[in-house]
Subunit: 281 residues, 2 copies
DNA sequence: GGCAATATGAAATAATAATTCCAATCCATA
DNA sequence: TATGGATTGGAATTATTATTTCATATTGCC
């Protein structure tokens, strides 16, 4: 009796694709419709779906039965479950994946974990980001002669991406690197007409904090990306963003920070373009 | 007659929260349940929801009516619409956001765009990543004496993150940087007992390609992350991953690449730990 | 504490939706 | 082209589900 009924959407999908060739015309029609409009199947009634797909309700039921379900209703469950899954709080998924990875569930689980951590962080930041802060930060940076970019260690990749993007947008910028130990000198060049993007997360790299302090004492405005209001960076900053990145296997995601960094960068680019257009006009 | 019925979930949510104080006990109970378990409202029947929330079906309907709906069914629509929205293919959202940003819709739209691009990319890669490739790449890298990390320009941030993570995991690695123009010499040190992670996307940085070629001619195995099978990197690589990153405002996301990079790094770390444990036993 | 207004529970009813059934049609094969 | 089997359409039937109703309980107010 066990006809191996597909219980999850992906299985169902591949079952349908496998059999596609051998299905009768109308059944194939509803099959195609189902894969193209899974949401409609999840929410519609047999009658409404059948109408949209251009078949009779009975065909829809036959389709379900041919797949081994005992009726439309149980087929629909699979489509609903899919929406639930997709939507199930990433937090929960992340927990589950962490447990799985702990148990040594293989490398795919690790990968899934990083994807989930990134997604969680992105969700989080789009909920919590304050538009006013974003505007403020962009205005501040757009006025700067040179934008200094300050970040070490884990945040360093973000700094390099900002520097790359600013360069592509032809915005003068300076990455504060430690290669030659000339940071102090580099920092000394900054004036109140410039601005800084500083990024640091707990445990805050002491060098970043020190440089941020020095530079803020020179009167250079700082836009900070950090992880809590207790962050030492927050106190030096003119504008600061709190970004909570989820972690997995001991490494925090960077996806939210990256998204914010890009928004700042491109935002500055646009603002400058607008400003120069006005000046010309 | 227009009672200003909440038409979208967020409006509904705030309406409920506003009135919370003034609602009768049972109605408040179902109200709280609805906000806590929106998915159940979307999918359940009046009876099943009422049971889960510990009230009568009629209460559920009264709740809906008090909010201005004419019955449970229309209230449910809002909860369903929410799932649809949330789930509406990120691609579509991205399109919409791109159009919005083009039209000069402000900096929030830009930010949302980068978030959407990152999410799309993550979705994409979790669908397309091949487990076998992942295993293969990790085994290959785990055997290496030194892991060389090769990436420029846009991919460079990923390289710095990999280097940072490998360092934290105490895995010997060498970032191939161009600072002193010593890349050629650095590359010359690599032997077949080492391995390379190379990352490059179109337009492929010529230096990356050249270095990859040289190093592969020395017999050093390469794991490549790139964006198509036509990529020149693919031909030098022992294992390669195709990562399709969505772009926004002219900049591609890095989120999928980052997730993959982290999975490789941490995967290698685990594999080594397992191997050394076995050796000891 | 008594009264009216409001809220709640439970079952009856109405509505809506899924499923079944049968006749008509299509299609492959001899 | 005739014939049997599979497929389809459409209406009838059955099932499920939302809604209404009314009796009962609770609450606030004088």
């Amino acid at each position: 009796m066990d006809e191996r009924v597909p219980r999850d959407f992906e299985t169902l999908r591949s079952t349908i694709l496998d059999r596609r060739e051998s299905l009768p015309k109308r059944i194939a029609q509803i099959a195609a419709y189902a894969l193209d409009n899974p949401d409609d199947i999840a929410f519609g009634t047999a009658a409404s779906i059948a109408a949209s797909a251009g078949v009779q309700p009975s065909t829809l039921i036959r389709f379900a039965q041919q797949l081994g379900f005992d009726g439309f209703t149980s087929l629909q469950q699979v489509f609903r479950e899919r929406l639930r899954e997709r939507n199930s709080s990433y937090d929960e998924r992340l927990q589950a994946l962490r447990a799985k990875a702990e148990g040594g569930a293989g490398h795919r689980a690790i990968f899934d974990g990083f994807v989930a951590a990134a997604s969680t962080s992105l969700n989080d930041i789009s909920r919590t980001l304050d538009d006013a802060h974003l505007e403020e930060a962009i205005s501040l940076l757009a006025k700067a002669q040179t934008i200094y970019v300050l970040a070490k260690r884990r945040s360093y990749p973000v700094a390099t991406y900002i520097a790359y993007a600013l360069g592509k947008l032809k915005i003068r910028n300076q990455l504060i690197e430690s290669a030659a130990g000339l940071n102090a000198e580099m920092v000394a060049f900054a004036t109140p007409a410039d601005a800084v993007i500083a990024i640091s997360f707990s445990p805050y790299a002491p060098a970043t904090i020190e440089e941020a302090r020095t530079i803020s004492e020179q009167g250079v405005p700082i836009v900070a990306i950090t992880d809590s209001s207790f962050s030492p960076l927050a106190q030096f900053a003119r504008v600061w963003f709190e970004v909570a990145e989820a972690d997995f296997a001991g490494f925090r995601s960077l996806s939210a920070t990256m998204a914010l960094a890009m928004a700042l960068t491109v935002g500055v680019g646009e603002k400058r373009r607008d400003a120069s257009r006005k000046r010309k006009a």
